[in-house]
Symmetry: C2
Subunit: 299 residues, 2 copies
């Protein structure tokens, strides 16, 4: 059983907390003048909860706090406690957790004005489930017609501004693909719509460096650790689409879905067009790391 296939352990999910208070899942919850809605003025994290434990919570919170600092959104000190209380009340579940922090309700102009109190939303729900055969057959990706901007003000931050990712995903679905890959403005591979990209060249594992605009994924970092432990050479180094198409294997990583094999790009097979042996070894090792760090006793 791969970790991404673990079913939710609680019938009470989804569950929602705003500023530490539990809420009915049916809305409304948020002001129409919240700058998170008006201007995507905020950041978020999606985290994997396994056995009731958030995997690498500290790294997620560090990334979130960095994003808040860049945007000049004050940190609410209660945030970590609210999140842990929410997780505790959800029980010993396997779940997905989304933490969203917006600048809060404020004036509609671009410039924040006066004292604004950030809005903190914690939502816990079932893990997104791919059809299990995805892990056997792998994903097909389309290369997005628009580029990732590695020189954006917010490059590398997980802001609420996912509109380009949504548009790229719609484009992928129209072309019959499952996912979309972004190139950066120089034509290097960057990332998928909400996951990092890895390739196995036959001699080393490569993932785009942060200079190519991907998010510094928590699972990306974990896979680099796992590769090191397995003595699989791994490096952050730019590569272009042509190099991806010549790779022996490719896979995507995200907190909620772990590793997902990528077997076709723009209709052309990667390697043999099926999930490869290195991807499978890394998937198993990552599942072990996740279970170990989350104190999951299940085999």
């Amino acid at each position: 059983v791969t970790p991404t296939a673990v079913p939710s352990g609680s019938a009470l999910l989804p569950a929602l907390w705003i500023d530490g208070e539990p809420c009915q899942v049916d809305g409304p919850h948020i002001s129409a003048a919240d700058r998170g809605l008006l201007l995507a003025d905020g950041v978020f994290e999606t985290m994997r909860v396994q056995n009731g434990v958030v995997f690498r919570l500290d790294r997620h919170l560090a990334r979130l706090e960095h994003g808040l600092a860049v945007l000049g959104i004050p940190l609410r000190r209660e945030l970590r406690g609210w999140l842990l209380d929410a997780v505790a009340s959800a029980g010993r579940v396997d779940a997905g957790l989304r933490l969203t922090v917006t600048r809060g309700v404020g004036a509609g102009g671009v410039a924040p004005q006066g004292d604004v109190r950030p809005t903190v939303i914690v939502a816990i729900g079932p893990l997104p489930v791919f059809a299990p055969e995805i892990f056997d057959r792998g994903l097909a990706a389309h290369v997005a017609s628009g580029r990732r901007n590695e020189r954006a003000m917010t490059a590398g931050l997980k802001t609420l501004a996912f509109t380009d990712a949504v548009a790229a995903m719609m484009e992928a679905r129209r072309s019959g693909a499952d996912e979309s890959l972004f190139l950066d403005s120089d034509g290097h591979c960057s990332e998928a719509t909400a996951s990092n990209l890895f390739i196995w060249t036959g001699v080393e594992l490569l993932t785009p460096p942060l200079s190519c605009g991907p998010l510094p994924g928590i699972t990306r970092a974990a896979v680099l650790e796992v590769a090191s432990a397995l003595h699989i050479p791994a490096e952050e180094r730019p590569f272009d689409l042509e190099r991806l198409l010549r790779a022996d294997e490719a896979f995507l990583t995200s907190s909620l879905r772990g590793l997902t094999p990528l077997v076709r790009v723009n209709g052309r097979p990667i390697g043999h067009g099926v999930p490869g042996a290195v991807s499978r070894r890394l998937t198993a090792a990552y599942a072990g790391l996740l279970a170990r760090e989350c104190g999951d006793p299940r085999p």
Copy 2:
């Protein structure tokens, strides 16, 4: 009196409608699972209401509908009627109107799933007011450290993804400037955080073409019309920062604020460092156009 200095004509503002229903301004109004908040999955327009009439409503709605079509968000046919009812109930005001359309409440993943009903928000409020001296002394701008992405999936669309603009504005304020200017990935001037850029070279008026990534502003188009009527040569043509710094005059345009003189960039004066004669002529002519089209009898 320039149109941007007209005070609000109603004590009832701000006022809010969601899906055509009037709402209390104090929230909550929106679900925490609205994809507008989760992923900036939506578009908006800000419009100028003068004398109770929306200036160039059809152009705003056409731009919005184009954005919805690109994102694959269905158009709610009631939208125009809801907006007009809201304006009518606000009375014969001078105001700012924001129309926001999100994909609606849906699954949290990037890919929209199933039938989602778009959320339509109409907010009418007082016009944003600059201190009147801004029109005498002009704005100072900072050049943003991050670039505009003219090759983004959503380049030229007014999506909810304004996080980069917010970050650039915060950076400008930290540097003591009023506004931030974006260069595109090739180093051409693109636009400000929420307004278009014009320069007067001494012989012609220039504004960046859409290939440099600016929004196709409604006021930008109106200024090009007004220039033509005044026999002022005007063209959409790329120019770089160096050309801006050598300009005789510069100004910004937006629906809510009209024309605003730009007199300093990165601490260096544009022309004589004060609002120029061509900017003043265009401002007066634009005010006349606005009053005429809105049937405003005031002098």
